[in-house]
Symmetry: C2
Subunit: 330 residues, 2 copies
């Protein structure tokens, strides 16, 4: 296992130390693994909390800041954070207007956030939850009942974060988060596996010219394996799957995210194919993200996420944001 780490046991806390040092706009409780915006809680503002296993950076810690998340709870690599972490984050960001949990649909995450919600409720903190389940690749998976939550999480966190920043109440913020999830679909492709530090060996094996279609963000199996094909064909497989679930016609926001080990030149090349496909199927890309936004350690591959926009969603997407990984407009 070749990794730039000190030891498998300290990967997450060592990286959190680095995140804290690099971004004074964050307040990082390394021991409890809770990342909050400096200055939290903000009285009267709905708090946004997300979390999940580490290894998907910049998700979620890189999205903590003005106009997006108030706190993130990173678990160990590919392992759900625990309810105590989530409760600590909830207390830290509760400004009296309630807290929204943004939960990717993995069984551990869902159960633990549910438990945290109950604990927070016992303390009188109002909690709402949105479960993100945008991945069309498989109906159930190793770690999920129902669809997995992947790229739409980035859109949900940005758009709900903007609305919370405007002062909307908890029900309204939760509603827009659900709306974004309902209007989003994702599909991923892997060229190579990744290695969980504590495991020391790849999560799966792929042959020399073989790829995995419909991969999950933990390396869990997708729909099928097949031979490597040109980018235009791979893009069509991904978008056919998305289009088979929900028409891509209309005004869209599109993210082409690398899986962690994919060079940017390939992501822009893929984006060009995505655009050509969508245009040919009645889609018009109004907003886009190209880069590493939700990853699987050093996995090579890509994730395409498509979201159907409305004027209001565009406005909230364009609203100022100031986080380590997304930043514009202020």
């Amino acid at each position: 296992m070749k990794k730039l780490i000190n030891s498998p046991e300290t990967v997450v806390t060592d990286a959190l130390e680095g995140l804290a040092a690099a971004h004074p706009s964050l307040s990082v409780d390394v021991a409890n693994k809770v990342i909050t915006r400096a200055g939290a809680p903000r009285p009267g503002k709905v708090g946004l909390v997300s979390g999940g296993g580490s290894g998907h950076e910049p998700l979620h810690g890189g999205f903590v800041g003005y106009g997006m998340l108030d706190a993130a709870c990173p678990g160990e690599v590919f392992t759900s954070p625990v309810p105590d972490q989530m409760l600590a984050a909830t207390r830290a960001v509760n400004g009296g207007a309630g807290v929204l949990y943004v939960v990717k649909n993995y069984t551990g995450d869902v159960l633990n956030f549910q438990m945290a919600a109950e604990l927070a409720g016992d303390e009188g903190i109002e909690i709402a939850q949105v479960v993100v389940n945008d991945d069309v690749a498989v109906q159930d998976s190793l770690y999920t009942a129902g669809r997995r939550g992947t790229g739409a999480t980035v859109f949900v966190e940005k758009i709900a974060g903007a609305l919370a920043e405007e002062g909307a109440d908890l029900a309204t913020v939760a509603a827009v988060a659900r709306l974004v999830n309902e209007r989003s679909r994702s599909f991923g492709v892997a060229l190579s596996p990744c290695t969980i530090p504590a495991a020391g060996k790849p999560t799966f094996e792929l042959g020399e010219g073989e790829i995995e279609l419909g991969i999950g963000i933990h390396g869990e199996p997708g729909r099928t394996r097949g031979p490597l094909a040109p980018a235009a064909e791979l893009t069509a497989v991904a978008l056919d799957a998305i289009q088979g679930d929900l028409s891509v016609a209309g005004d869209l926001m599109v993210m082409v995210s690398g899986m962690g080990g994919t060079p940017l030149i390939e992501l822009y090349l893929l984006y060009n194919e995505v655009r050509a496909y969508l245009n040919a199927h009645g889609g018009r890309i109004a907003r886009n993200l190209v880069g590493n936004y939700i990853t699987s350690l050093e996995m090579r591959g890509f994730l395409i996420t498509v979201c159907h926009l409305t004027d209001d969603l565009i406005r909230l997407w364009d609203a100022p944001v100031e986080t380590p990984a997304l930043r514009w407009g202020r």
Copy 2:
């Protein structure tokens, strides 16, 4: 060779199509491979042009925009752009106040930019050049006479770009670019090689537990090979080399850039080690960048760049910038 491409011949132009589609703030001449800021030239403003082989994204095209470059000329992968490209870029951004070329010290780049400068001079366009040569790893290399130009290029482009945006004249902008280069040092480490699409096989081979210390951004050999070691040790090797050339005591800007295939969690972990080392040696990090800023396709590894700051350099670094890869403050 596993790559997300359509064909080795069209990698660069396909990716440029995607870049153009993703960023309406850029004007991309795909056929001639020239990326300019929309709205160029800007009358009375010194133009900043850079370029080099593709495969180092976001360098340079991702740094075109307000407060940074006016144009970039990408060559084929790891291949210098040609003088005609550079001349086209120069004409496109010449607003009458002259043009600064930011050149990484590789023989092909230096010769071609020199030729472009002569051609532009013949047309009455005043040209200044800064050759970036910050890499302390080797004195000469496969592609270089003298030190290679690596991470300091990002600092030079940002800081000189900010000064040009303020309306400084060509000599002043060129002087600050040289100052940043003189005050910067870099060192890189590779865990894995990369594959040039047209070559189809890795640029070099590394054993299972073997790494390359002092690697160049094209996979050209470094100082030595050695066994994989903990991140703290690898960081110390890199910073010992930098410190051996120029003391790290004082106020610093530090970049920890991934080589393209390195996950962000590892980069933050490395940043934490870099900070500990620098603090122990009298250095204080006043500004930082952690992410993929100058890469080598899908290579796994990192590049550390350290720049000694002045109050004026901090002011120019903090000035607003709006490019695909760096964005803040407006």
